[in-house]
């Protein structure tokens, strides 16, 4: 499923068709499973990058609930996004352990290096920077996670270096 995201988009019609196919497959998988809204949204976002209004409409129809209910869920949980993100997601930890170990300075260095605001995406679409509260690697604080990889014991300089090497 994630492969179809990387396919070149020939025309918008093809994209819509692929999206309908992807969502159809996800919905079918959860037919008859109670309380499946969140896993359905998680898998849809994983496959499509974000949850666009059209996606939410399709899912609402498929699940058989009003779109407003899906929006309610999507906006409640911080994992869900309504707009696309950059190629790499950089989560900067501002949990307690990281906060007292200099996460503020590390966070500033990252935003400065990439010329973005907190939560924003770089102009070239390579990075989206997000601040999170605790990645569970507190003993290596301060910590950031780029995609699935965690980097610990950061200093502003080390953080810049990690970003350059991505």
């Amino acid at each position: 499923m994630s492969q179809s995201r990387k396919k070149p988009k020939k025309s918008s019609a093809t994209r819509e068709e692929t999206e309908a196919g992807i969502l159809g497959a996800i919905l079918t998988k959860y037919v008859g499973t109670a309380g499946a809204v969140i896993p359905i949204l998680q898998e849809s976002q994983e496959a499509l990058g974000c949850l666009r209004p059209q996606t939410i409409e399709t899912l609402a129809l498929g699940i058989g609930v009003p779109a407003s209910q899906i929006y309610g869920v999507v906006t409640f949980y911080s994992q869900f996004r309504l707009t696309p993100i950059g190629k790499h997601l950089c989560k900067v930890c501002h949990g307690t352990a990281c906060h007292v170990s200099g996460a503020t300075e590390v966070g500033e260095a990252i935003l400065d290096q990439l010329h973005v605001d907190e939560g924003g995406t770089t102009a070239d679409g390579r990075f989206t920077v997000q601040s999170v509260a605790c990645l569970g690697c507190c003993s290596l604080a301060p910590v950031m996670m780029i995609d699935e990889e965690t980097h610990g014991r950061l200093t502003p300089d080390r953080a810049r270096k990690v970003l350059r090497e991505v």
Partner: protein
Amino acid sequence: MTNTSRREGLLVQTGLKPARTQVVVGLGSCGIAAGGQKVRSALSEAIERKALPIQLRETGCVGMCYREVLVDVFDPQGKRFTYGNVTPERVERLVTDHFESGRPVRDWLVRSPEEPLADDSFFAKQKRIVLRNCGIINPESLAEYRARDGYQALEKVLRQMKPEEVIQAVRDSGLRGRGGAGFPTGLKWQFARGAKGEKKYLICNGDEGDPGAFMDRSVLEGDPHTVIEGMLIAAYGIGADEGYLYVRAEYPLAVRRLRKAIADATMAGFLGEHILGSMLTACGSKFSFQLHVKEGAGAFVCGEETALMASIEGQRGMPRLRPPFPATSGLWGKPTNINNVETYANVPWILLHGPQAFADLGTQKSKGSKVFALAGKIARGGLVEVPMGITIGEVIFEIGGGIKDGRAFKAVQMGGPSGGCIPASLADTMIDYESVTQTGAIMGSGGMVVLDETACMVEIARFFLDFTQKESCGKCTFCRIGTKRMLEILTRITQGQGQEGDIELLYDLADKIKTSSLCGLGQTAPNPVLTTLRYFREEYEAHIREKRCPAHYCRKLLVYRIDSDLCTGCTACTHACPTQAISGVVKQPHLIDQTRCIQCGSCVAKCRFDAVKTQ
């Protein structure tokens, strides 16, 4: 085969009792973050290249996160050498000196069977029940878990004990919930067992939202079968046939290992339909249990039990009023038992070793051991498990090795956003539910963030209010708006805009938020402010009256100067300064114009020579 010889066989088969040299790499999230995979590849490459008769294995977190990457070497006699701070570059020498020539590299050892080392004190006072397998077995191997008595407690329970007897044993052990509130676990199970209804659910709370806490992550990543076995025993006790393991979104490795553990346990007949084959249990019927993993989607409040259940049902994770308690009406309105990861992880040990062995540890009202995550300004940050009744000072100084960089111990934050800061003067406080609560903090789930003299306590309080204010679900007015007002006041104090009367206003709001919030989030949100006001009121007053931050932390209250001896005149700071307050000639010391400086700290961050000083 007798039980003992079967165990011996398994131990050798799985490599837990080595017949030849074993090398074990710690690959928990922390080990991986420190570069564990690279070390593993380097080791594997060297062992293959030299065709050494060595078995390479992996394990979860041992707890010595401050020494990651950790590599254990077991020689054929079973002697264990532990290397710390291993890098791919160090692998070559380990291989030639230790593996090939049998000469351990003493300088890099952190534990050795041949001589006492400084790091031994990290383990001396620990008592490992929950973590008994973490850092020893391969978490992805059911065989290794079984070799360490895994699923023996379940077999014993199903064959020999009635559900009521299981519940009685847990009651006798004195086990209390490790998720924060400390409710007696056996009693909770009894309520769920006694609740009317055919269908009952069992939930494991692995949401672990407190920033600064990583106990549940380490257990789920390091020994997933223990949690599953604990849940199975609980399910048998209360009469549940279906369960959910709710894990937070930020723990992908834990989710992966749990899924594998569930699949393996199902294959082996420990989970699913008719557990242990067609065997009739001690109550004369067959026992089945289905277990599902649910991934959270990022909301702190979903750690609260009623919100968590709403989240499993696919709704917004909003808490609701209790009663009815989950035991009578929980998931989809059915009787439900919910416990924390660590609570369940204690259960197999208790049933195997008997409730008395557990009750022998700890204090009168708090039995057994507790896992803590040590982080912040502590020399040895990591995961420790200590008997209840040990003092905070013993944990921080004897196990944790004291404060980093030789600084002074100021306070320890316990219980996360619901907890508080315990000052250094109360280091003799015993770790048990009641004593910790008396300080104004709470035992919480086990996060201990240690603060040194450079921490500003007003800023710490502001930090937590910022967190709770963002995470409030918005249902209760005082939690939604009251926390916002408290945050505004705290922010203004740290920025030098504090006013007379602010402290009284904080007390007033704290009282109202505590008394008029529905769930634990609001009821405890003011705790970080209340404890810092209780023990560090003079810091608040210095900020408000003298516009001074005694810890030199709050930027807006600092004066920035450039040390002319250290400044090389590289001009980096002049470019960083948003108000052009810094002037100077290239290669000459620079100067900050105090009338233009807005105390943003950009120059400090930019300077590579540590030449910008604050007062």
